[in-house]
């Protein structure tokens, strides 16, 4: 399945006037995702950037029904909406045939505080499509590290200092892989740098019955320290350097959706962002080596999870 620009509706359901920072990658992602999902959609948002920028009473930026309850439970909120629609439809109390249920949360709301609810939703098999917009830190509270912050990144709670010169000492948690291990029908990674790929994945997820997880890399000029007109460029460099791999696992089959014959040096990506400006050449060499190794072992790693691989 592919998606053509000409097929995209002119209508938007994440509407202008919201309060995102200039160049916000997450806002770009949500706009594209809702374009694909269309009007028959109900969104459950976690607390975080997207929720706060879009819903300052009495205004809101949502062209579809939208609910926010708390931070750690976007998956449970969407589960509740989905369960209600299931039974109310069965009892003839509502007539909508097909409603898309989306859960939307940032990386903190997904990889950290929300991972339990996400796991529960996936295990119970709710027909919910979960979107993680990954800006790699707690941006809404002002750039604190999450488990999805990459190794070596500066944040306000992983600051490089004399004792800890590297910044964040731990590697990025791989939530997509955790979701693949749940055995749900569809898991994908995506990037706002590759919008057609992102939108095709959303469409695929919506067409498959059952839980789906899409992890979207969404650069954040404010937190990553780059110019706000560089968001797409930074997003693409993440993919082209192998820092972020685009793939999908559909019904247990892995497909790399953006294949690279040769990786660009990670330095090209890292040097675009102030959050990595403290890294030494040795630090960058280590990151390069980690990326190379991960890239080479990527497919084998998924085979070990019991996933078959498409050529």
């Amino acid at each position: 399945m592919s998606i053509k620009l000409s097929e995209l509706p002119a209508e938007d359901y994440f509407l202008p006037g919201h309060r995102a920072c200039a160049g916000c990658g997450a806002a770009i992602a949500i706009r594209l995702i809702l374009k694909v999902a269309g009007p028959n959609t109900i969104v459950a948002s976690a607390t975080g950037c997207i929720e706060v920028i879009s819903s300052l009473y009495p205004e809101n930026a949502w062209g579809v029904p939208w609910i926010h309850t708390a931070f750690e439970n976007a998956a449970a909120t969407a589960s509740g909406v989905e369960a209600a629609y299931k039974v109310l439809r069965r009892k003839g109390k509502i007539s909508h045939d097909k409603v898309n249920f989306l859960a939307i949360a940032g990386d903190g709301g997904t990889a950290d505080i929300g991972i339990q609810a996400l796991s529960g939703m996936a295990e119970r098999g709710h027909n919910v499509k979960y979107i993680c917009y990954d800006n790699e830190a707690y941006m809404n509270t002002g750039i604190q590290r999450s488990s999805s912050t990459p190794y070596g990144a500066w944040t306000t709670t992983s600051p490089p200092g004399k004792a800890i010169p590297i910044g964040k000492r731990e590697v990025k948690k791989d939530v997509a892989r955790i979701m693949v291990a749940h055995g749900i029908p569809y898991v994908a990674t995506a990037s706002i740098g590759y919008p057609l790929d992102l939108m095709r994945k959303v469409k695929t997820a919506l067409e498959i019955e059952g839980p789906a997880y899409i992890h979207v890399h969404t650069p954040c000029p404010t937190g990553w320290r780059f110019e706000s007109n560089k968001t797409i460029e930074v997003a693409r460099l993440a993919v082209q350097t192998g820092m972020w791999v685009l793939y999908e696992v559909k019904q247990g089959r892995l497909r790399i959706t953006y294949k690279l014959s040769k990786l660009k040096p990670v330095e090209e990506y890292l040097r675009t962002q102030g959050r990595f400006s403290h890294l030494t050449d040795d630090d960058i060499a280590k990151i390069q080596e980690d990326v190379r190794k991960r890239f080479e072992e990527f497919v084998e790693g998924y085979r070990q999870l019991g996933v078959s691989v498409e050529a």
Binding site: P39, N40, T41, I42, A44, E51, V52, S55, L56, Y57, P58, N60, W62, G63, V64, P65, W66, I67, H68, T69, A70, E72, N73, A75, A76, T77, A78, S79, G80, V81, A83, A84, Y85, K86, V87, L88, R90, K91, K93, I94, H96, V99, Q116, A117, S119, G120, E123, R124
Partner: protein, 393 residues
């Protein structure tokens, strides 16, 4: 025809949800609530109950699922206790803030630490300011009836607040009593289908759970207050209709027993009331001027009813099954509320706080007699006392 059945408190709570034609049940097991949700899952599995049973991975998610389902137009039910209720804490305020009338049974149980699966009221009293209707049952019949009452009051368009009915862990959750189960038609008459004015619906998009900055937050809070205050009248109205349809009469807020001429009055909540009533009856036979007030509806708090019932007494003994650590002499929360209700009264009784049955310790008739002695010994000039009854020497 209404039928007789010998069932436990947990089963009565489950039956209340079933007769209410609940749409979505989301729950997580915890002692002593567990059998309530087992019954519901069995009825859903057998097809006896057409509902979605969502086995949540935590109480936090169970409450979240109920809130979101309620926001989508579903009638919901959950049940929990103790740590489970504490884990839900965050979501309780969100349930009332979003005005989703979720109904929840609490099998009252102590809070850790030390771990205790046994009964007191610390768990639900810790949630008394969460914007939920709170009712406390004394027996299994009342458990069932209160379950229906919670739907009726909470879902009323003048209220639209979540409601919890609290039953004492083991004393009620696991005690079997003879109850009357009504005809489905009676319940349908008492409880119209849930049809909220606003719900998540793609044909009419709304946003629920927005950010409310300082320009608006206070107005949201005030609306919640107005709903809770409106609930007073709705609780009374619902009890009148309940009597008409089911033929059982309850005082909506407080039950009075030998109060009119009593010098000494106990105030209780929950299953311990039976023991107190028994001893009050005995003491009356012995010539003592003693009575009992049992609070049924704790939120909204029946301050006017209480004033009227106890103002003529000399001494009132307020029984707390929980503790407000660091309050005046670390008394119980019920004591604080009753004292506050009396503050405006020109003529007011002396008050004594009786803390008992903490962590499941039994309350025996002899302990109630000990409580009565405390009341009798109150000195007109002395400040109030907080007595712990049944404590090890």
């Amino acid at each position: 025809m209404p039928k007789q059945a010998v069932i436990s408190g947990n089963m009565a709570a489950a039956y209340a949800a079933k007769y209410a034609r609940v749409d979505v049940i989301a729950a997580y097991p915890i002692t002593p609530q567990t059998t309530a949700i087992e019954y519901l899952s069995q009825w859903v599995a057998s097809g006896e109950l057409d509902a979605e049973f969502v086995p949540a991975e935590s109480e936090h998610s169970a409450m979240t699922i109920c809130i979101a389902a309620s926001a989508s137009g579903a009638r919901t039910f959950t049940a929990t206790a103790s740590q489970g209720l504490a884990l839900m804490h965050e979501m309780l305020y969100i349930a009332s803030g979003l005005r989703t009338p979720v109904v929840m049974m609490i099998g009252n149980r102590s809070l850790s630490s030390p771990l205790s699966i046994w009964n007191d009221h610390q768990d639900s009293m810790a949630e008394r300011d969460a914007g939920w209707i709170q009712m406390y049952a004394e027996n299994v019949q009342e458990t069932f009836d209160m379950g229906l009452m919670c739907y009726r009051v909470g879902e009323d368009s003048r209220v639209m607040l979540p409601a919890m009915f609290c039953i004492d862990g083991f004393f009620l959750t696991h005690t079997y009593q003879n109850v009357v189960l009504p005809d489905q038609e009676q319940v349908d008459e008492f409880l119209p289908p849930y049809s909220p004015k606003y719900r998540l619906d793609p044909s009419n998009p709304i946003a629920m759970g927005t950010v409310g900055d300082p320009r608006w937050y206070m107005e949201f809070a005030k609306q919640k207050v107005e709903a809770m205050e409106a609930a007073r009248g709705v609780v009374e109205e619902a009890h009148r209709d309940f009597e008409k349809i089911f033929g059982r009469r309850y005082d909506p807020f407080i039950e009075r027993f030998h109060c009119n001429d009593a010098d000494y009055i106990f105030i209780t909540m929950g299953s311990v009331s039976g023991t107190f009533r028994h001893v009050v009856r005995e003491l009356r036979k012995e010539g003592a001027s003693v009575g009992l007030v049992r609070i049924r509806t704790f939120r909204p708090f029946p301050y006017e009813e209480l004033r009227e019932a106890i103002s003529g007494a000399k001494v009132v003994g307020i029984v707390d099954r929980s503790i407000s650590f660091g309050a005046m002499k670390s008394c119980g929360p019920l004591f604080l509320e009753v004292r506050a209700a009396l503050y405006e009264q020109e003529k007011k009784p002396k008050t004594v706080n009786l803390i008992l049955g903490i962590g499941g310790r039994d309350t025996t008739p002899s302990m109630v007699r000990e409580c009565f002695k405390k009341l009798e010994s109150v000195d007109e000039r002395r400040e109030f006392d907080v007595f712990w009854i049944g404590l090890r020497e």
